[in-house]
């Protein structure tokens, strides 16, 4: 039938687009766990999508009536089938149980403390910028205006613990390549830890609407080797001592 011929490619494209979306390459140990969960969820979603669309297209193509039925001709008046209904209650229950198990396992891996002394970064979100305080080193990097965020230099292969809060409204600390965000809430402190796996520059941004310049509240994370990180720390501290006022910018 015409409708079905049109519907089939449309449906396939739709399932494809919805479930085949690619996560950014995960750049932290925790993000790898989330990425794996996403893969499992995608496989299950594709299975469900293909099953349901397959059945639906079959019904449409197979049982479509072109001619009006003969007088008195009626299809079998089936009102239900307990076995079938138990099957399509049971199978989804199994699927979501599996997903739930995977979710709990992934959450444990995301929250799992990693070996090593974490770098402490205290992050304060405000309208419309970020103040990032390396509490152990006395270094502060900060936004310099809308659209000009700070750059936090962090070591790879070492835990980084973020202590997050807000001074005004709710913001959200979001680094897409870490597959992670956490809200910055006034009056409340959120603490989370991640391990960056690879050196690189990773863009971050505010993800909770916070007023006019919400869209212009970026920050960057530059991940470097532990040795380069130590060099950067020393350089920042020397600079700060030389100028006698705390450095307000991330540019080394």
């Amino acid at each position: 039938m015409r409708g079905a011929r049109r519907a089939v490619p449309l449906a396939i494209a739709a399932v494809g687009l919805a479930v085949a979306g690619c996560m950014p390459t995960p750049e932290t140990t925790q993000a790898n766990a989330i990425d794996f969960l996403y893969l499992i969820a995608q496989i299950l979603a594709a299975g469900v999508g293909i099953t349901v669309y397959g059945l639906l297209v079959f019904m449409i193509v197979r049982y479509r009536r072109r001619r009006p039925p003969a007088p008195g001709e009626v299809p079998p008046q089936v009102r239900g089938n307990t076995v079938l209904e138990l099957i399509w209650t049971g199978i989804p229950l199994l699927i979501v149980s599996l997903l739930f198990g995977m979710t709990v396992w992934t959450l444990a891996r995301v929250n799992d403390p990693q070996p090593g002394q974490p770098v402490q970064l205290s992050v304060l979100a405000y309208r419309w910028g970020w103040r990032m305080d390396y509490t152990d080193y006395g270094i502060v990097v900060q936004s310099t205006g809308p659209g000009h965020g700070p750059e936090a230099v962090l070591p790879v292969g070492q835990p980084v613990t973020i202590t997050l809060t807000s001074q005004d409204v709710i913001h959200s600390f979001f680094v897409p390549q870490f597959l992670f965000k956490r809200d910055a809430i006034p009056g409340m402190t959120n603490v989370f830890t991640f391990n960056i796996d690879n050196p690189g520059v990773y863009g971050g941004q505010c993800a909770e609407f916070c007023g006019m310049d919400h869209y212009a509240m970026p920050f960057t994370i530059r991940a470097v080797s532990p040795a380069e990180f130590q060099a950067w720390v020393t350089q920042q501290q020397t600079q700060a001592a030389a100028s006698a006022t705390p450095s307000a910018t991330a540019t080394p």
């Binding site: 049109r6 449309l10 739709a14 687009l17 919805a18 979306g21 690619c22 950014p24 766990a33 989330i34 969960l37 996403y38 999508g49 669309y53 639906l56 019904m59 449409i60 049982y63 009536r65 039925p69 007088p71 008195g72 001709e73 009626v74 299809p75 079998p76 009102r79 239900g80 089938n81 079938l84 209904e85 209650t89 989804p92 229950l93 979501v96 739930f100 709990v104 992934t106 959450l107 995301v110 409204v169 709710i170 959200s172 979001f174 897409p176 597959l179 992670f180 965000k181 809430i185 009056g187 409340m188 959120n190 989370f192 993800a207 609407f209 007023g211 006019m212 919400h214 869209y215 212009a216």
Partner: protein, 553 residues
């Protein structure tokens, strides 16, 4: 015709002289007219909200600020969401229920006709108050339809627009609560003889469960709004952390209302889909009782999942709310398989209502699958507050509620007006609108996965995002074309002479037993009610009767 005891008591009621025109509509307590007022008003709000969305999509077509400045853009998305959720979706389902519920249970009117009229006028004036928030200095609130504190507090939203919003939405909320009391009372007290609860049409079951949800969830919103107002003007500090308050409390109350709200926006529409598929398959709804249980299961679960909107706050139990959110997939799956099984071995025909019903099943499934993804707390760490959520919610609300609304419009338009809508325009409407929905909302998933946050007035430098946003704007334009086909269809149908028979689709339920449009008190006779498909039974019996007569002759 089969005589029933309903036909017997021929009481002549002295009717007031028929008031014509405007006065009639302004003073009516007829549930059908109130239903049409609700549907018409909410459809106008739908068009207005759609125009705001088109302006937003126009702005997002390419990076950079072109048409509206960021603060206007932020007012637009706040009001778009507000209008679509509170002034279109909720009153639309109330309107359909108003028109159909008394007809489907064989009643003459609602239990409280004057209260019914009052709820409509409260909704209308509440809606106008919300729209008037554009007028004062500072313009409409720019806080998102979820109006999170402290952003919506007096410090960050000092304008009177926010107060008008609170008062207007509060009024529509109270109207919804009173309306749901009326629906529940009507269903429990006004059913025709023989109409037991397990013979009540599935759409009306959806309305019952929705009314219970409204009754239990809207008070939480009312309380939240009252607390926000007290914080703003009466020195309260419910949501102010510096005085012991909590912004998280605002979210708990908001989503305790907000998550049931999305089921309020879909359950009557699940009912429409069930009814349409059954009629155009010439079969009873497969698993009618299971469908009712699924409604009840979804309703109960909907009160236990609110904090999945708060996974990234760090303030809620993640596994608990993940598990319960996942579980909603089970009753929803039951509905899907029952719809498919209803089509199995049926005599399927595809006039426009059925096209929209089947289109709904194709598109809504994507929203269902991505909803399961969002139920997983770790995946939500990436998806929360990105375009993934925007894609998901529009997939279920536009691919779901709006497409089912169109299925219902095409299905019941002949009953309400005595005129058939054009099938040719209907098909054009269906294909353009459905294509538009897919094109507008599917690219949003990839935008969100790759990290584009929602509620951004501008985005920068990423060729993939540029393309996906361009596609999405194209889809929005295509949807607008589809809606224009519908309006054209509507106007040309209303201008032609009445041509619809009483029962154009060979329907199942009692509304098809009366004339099109129905008389003021709905029924001159009723068929005997022996199942949830009294009209089907009656037609079958007529047919058997014909055979018998032929045999006797």
């Amino acid at each position: 015709m089969v005589a029933t005891d309903l036909e017997q008591p021929r009481v002549t009621i002295a009717r007031p002289p028929v008031a014509e025109g405007l006065v009639d509509w302004l003073t009516t307590t007829d549930h059908k007219k109130i239903g049409l007022l609700y549907i018409g008003t909410s459809f106008l709000f739908f068009l207005l909200g759609g125009i705001l969305a088109l302006i937003m999509r126009l702005e997002l077509t390419q990076p950079g600020v072109q048409f509206v400045d960021p603060s206007t853009y932020e007012q637009l998305f706040t009001m778009h969401g507000t209008i679509m959720m509170f002034l279109f979706g909720t009153p639309l389902s109330v309107g359909l229920a108003n028109y159909l519920l008394p007809l489907q249970i064989g009643a003459a009117d609602m239990a409280f006709p004057r209260l019914n009229a009052a709820t409509y006028w409260m909704f209308l004036f509440g809606g106008l108050i919300v729209l008037s928030s554009f007028l004062p200095a500072g313009g409409a609130p720019a806080v998102g339809w979820t109006i999170y504190a402290p952003l919506s507090g007096i410090t960050y939203s000092p304008g009177a627009g926010m107060d008008l919003w609170i008062v207007g939405i509060g009024l529509t909320g109270i109207s919804s609560i009173l309306g749901s009391v009326n629906f529940i009372a009507t269903l429990f007290t006004r059913r025709a003889p023989g109409m037991t609860m397990l013979r009540v049409p599935i759409f009306t079951w959806g309305v019952l469960v929705t009314s219970l949800l409204i009754l239990l969830s809207f008070p939480a919103l009312t309380a939240d709004l009252a607390m926000l107002f007290i914080d703003r003007h009466l020195g309260g500090s419910f949501f102010d952390p510096s005085a012991g308050g909590s912004p998280i409390l605002f979210q708990h109350l908001f989503w305790f209302f907000g998550h049931p709200e999305v089921y309020i926006l879909i359950m009557p529409f699940f009912g429409i889909i069930s009814e349409v598929i059954s009629v155009f398959s010439r079969k009873p709804l497969f698993g009618y009782r299971a469908m009712i249980l699924a409604f009840i299961a979804i309703a109960l679960l909907s009160f236990t999942v609110w904090a999945h909107h708060m996974f990234t706050t760090g303030a809620v139990n993640l596994p608990f709310f993940s598990l319960l959110s996942y579980l909603i997939a089970v009753p929803t799956g039951i509905k899907y398989f029952n719809w498919i099984a209803t089509m199995w071995r049926g005599h399927l025909t595809f006039p426009t209502p059925m096209l929209f019903a089947v289109g709904f099943m194709f598109v809504f499934l994507l929203g269902g699958i991505t909803g399961v993804m969002l139920a997983s707390a770790p995946l939500d760490f990436q998806f929360q507050d990105t375009y993934y959520v925007v894609g998901h919610l529009h997939n279920v609300l536009v691919g779901g509620t709006v497409m089912a609304m169109f299925a219902g419009f095409y299905f019941w338009f002949p009953k309400a007006t005595g005129r058939m809508l054009s099938e040719r325009l209907g098909k054009l409407h269906f294909w353009t609108f459905t294509g538009g929905v897919l094109l507008a909302f599917l690219p949003m998933y990839q935008l969100g996965i790759s990290g584009m946050p929602r509620r951004y007035a501008d985005y920068t430098g990423n060729p993939t995002w540029d393309l996906l946003n361009l596609l999405s704007t194209g889809g929005a334009a295509l949807m607008a074309v589809g809606v224009l086909f519908f309006i054209w269809n509507l106007i040309s149908a209303l201008r032609k002479p009445a041509d619809a028979p009483d029962d154009p689709w060979a329907g199942n339920t009692l509304e098809w037993a009366t004339s099109s449009p129905p008389p003021e008190h709905n029924f001159r006779w009723l068929p005997p009610i022996r199942s949830e498909r009294p009209m089907w039974d009656w037609r079958m019996r007529q047919h058997d009767g014909d055979d018998q007569q032929a045999a006797e002759a």
